[in-house]
Each structure stands twice: as C-alpha cells, then as structure tokens.
Symmetry: C2
Subunit: 159 residues, 2 copies
Amino acid sequence: MPEHATERVPWDHVELTVGEVAARSGVAVSALHFYERRGLIASRRTSGNQRRYRRDVLRRVSFIRVSQRVGIPLARIAEALETLPADRAPNVRDWERLSRAWRTDLDARIAQLERLRDDLTDCIGCGCLSLSRCVLANPHDALGDDGPGPRRLLVDDPE
Amino acid sequence: MPEHATERVPWDHVELTVGEVAARSGVAVSALHFYERRGLIASRRTSGNQRRYRRDVLRRVSFIRVSQRVGIPLARIAEALETLPADRAPNVRDWERLSRAWRTDLDARIAQLERLRDDLTDCIGCGCLSLSRCVLANPHDALGDDGPGPRRLLVDDPE
DNA sequence: CCTTGACCTCAACCATAGTTCAGGTCACAG
DNA sequence: CTGTGACCTGAACTATGGTTGAGGTCAAGG
C-alpha cells in the first residue's frame, strides 16, 4: 500500500482537472460546470477550491453526449445517471442497462416519426394538407358553423 | 356585384378576428400574434387597429402546426411560406409542394435516427457505450496520451 | 516576487416557442 | 353612456442547453 509513493498511484486514481476533462471529452468547461450544477457529474474540490474529477467522469460525459444525440433531455439523463450505483464505479452492465432504455426510447420515436410520415404521405396523396379530410389537419375549418367545440387541431399523441 | 349588400358578401371574403382564428385553429391568440411578428401570417387592420384575417390564414396556421409536428422550426416554416405565391391564394398544388419538402426532411430524420439506433444497438451488444471501440463514443479516452488533437466526441452529422 | 495561465463564481445573454401580465382601447348591449 | 368582453402593445417570464464576460483566485515557472 504505497500511499506515500506518489509515483505509484494507480492510473484509475489519477484525478483530472476540469480543463483535462474538457480536452478529453470535447465538452467545454462551461458545459461541465453546467452539468455539475444539474447534478449529472460530480467533483471533489482541492484546498484551493478547484475541481478534481475521478476518471470515470469521462464515461459519464460520453454517456451524456451520446444520450443527447439520441435526443434525451438533460433532466432525463440526470435521472438515468442517478440509478447508477453510488458505492462503486459503474460497470459495463450498468451502462448497458441505460443504453437499452434509450434504445426503447429511440424505437418509440422512430415509430412515431414513421406514423407521421405515413400521415403526411396520405396528405400529399390526397392533396389535402390542412384541409378537412386530412388526419394531420384542422377539423374545425370543416366543422365550420357547428360551433367552437373542443379545440383539436392535430391528432393526439399516443403518449 | 352586390358589394353594398353586406348579406351577400361571398363566404371567402368574410374576414376573421384573431379570436375566431384562435377558436377555429386551436392556437392561442398570443401564438397568432407571435406568428405574425415572425412573418408566418399576416392581417389587415381595422380603423380601430384590430386584426382581420383572410380565411386562408386557417390553412396557413394548420400548415404551421402540421409542420411543427413534423419537427420543422418556425424559421424554416416561414421560409417555406414565403415561397407561396403572393398574388393569389395558395392552391392544392402549392401545399402539396411544401408537404413533399417536409416528407423529404422527415425521411432524412428517420434515416438518421435509424442509424443512431443501429449504432446504439451495437454499443449495447459490445457493452461499450462510452468506451473506445464504440462509434458513438469518445475517442479521446482511448487516444489517451496521444495529446489533445481535434475534439470529436461524436460521429459527425452528415449535414 | 511576479507574471501567466488555468481556475473560480455569478450574472447576463443567445436561440426557440411561446405565455402571462399590465395598462390601455374598441365595439357592442342594455 | 356605461359596462363588459374582446382586442391592442410591450415587457417580462417560462424551459432547455448552454456561452460569454467581469472580476477575482490559484499554482507554477523564471
């Protein structure tokens, strides 16, 4: 246990400054500060009040960026990260679990866009975009004098 | 030409107040004001400075809502609307042209999400999310001491 | 010891797509 | 002719995901 021998600190224990995390992750320092305020990452402070990150913050940041790419808002990413074990570093299975959740999300979003595309295709076919028969469009112009009634411009999201 | 006979004004010429457009389109008055400031819709003003809309504003508003549903930002919707003829009311073919453009857009977005899903699926398979081999993930953690280099956390969007 | 670069906080600002509110006007009904 | 509801403007506020700048501190090299 050569805790006094600074030369032999295990690589995993070498902390990173915010600038290093920024350089390695490709994320701006300001964004890292922002993620920290939002609770997505955490740091230790030195006696001089500077941030020091554990190396696994790099995986977190990558996960954040990948998740954003998938279209997940930061709040949901934060929730997902909170499900990671607090006592140990996340392992491959932990990350896999989170990724699977995003895949479900992505599948749903793709399916939704495909439905939308089909509806739009119908609209192009019938030339009706924004006219009465169109599933995408406003039913009120058709209802006309039947009175105001409930406002329903678009078909409801099944969510 | 019974222009003096208010009873026989053609239906197409009956103007709508902002409240009527709101009720029929399902869009809030504040949103209609907002669309007008952004140049997506236009109105005539009465002597008392109130807005009066031509009936075809309803189609425009529907088009705006449908377009937003497709995921198009207002700025692009505005550009699309500017390509409509200024001299005559838009016809079915005009709307069809715009819809086709959105369909192309939607197809591209679906394809992009599908690529993303495939990448993510690979990542789940290899358990590597955020690790070095992953196409979605940060290459810098792998490059490590090779220096900073260009920051490329994520694969580039082909756009 | 002093300069330089990296770091710190906090506040303000960017875009997007609006909503809400204050204070004032318009149009119509009684 | 007064009340009521619909309308007007402009400013401020919402949320998301940050960036930018001011003003100050920290750490290391010469």
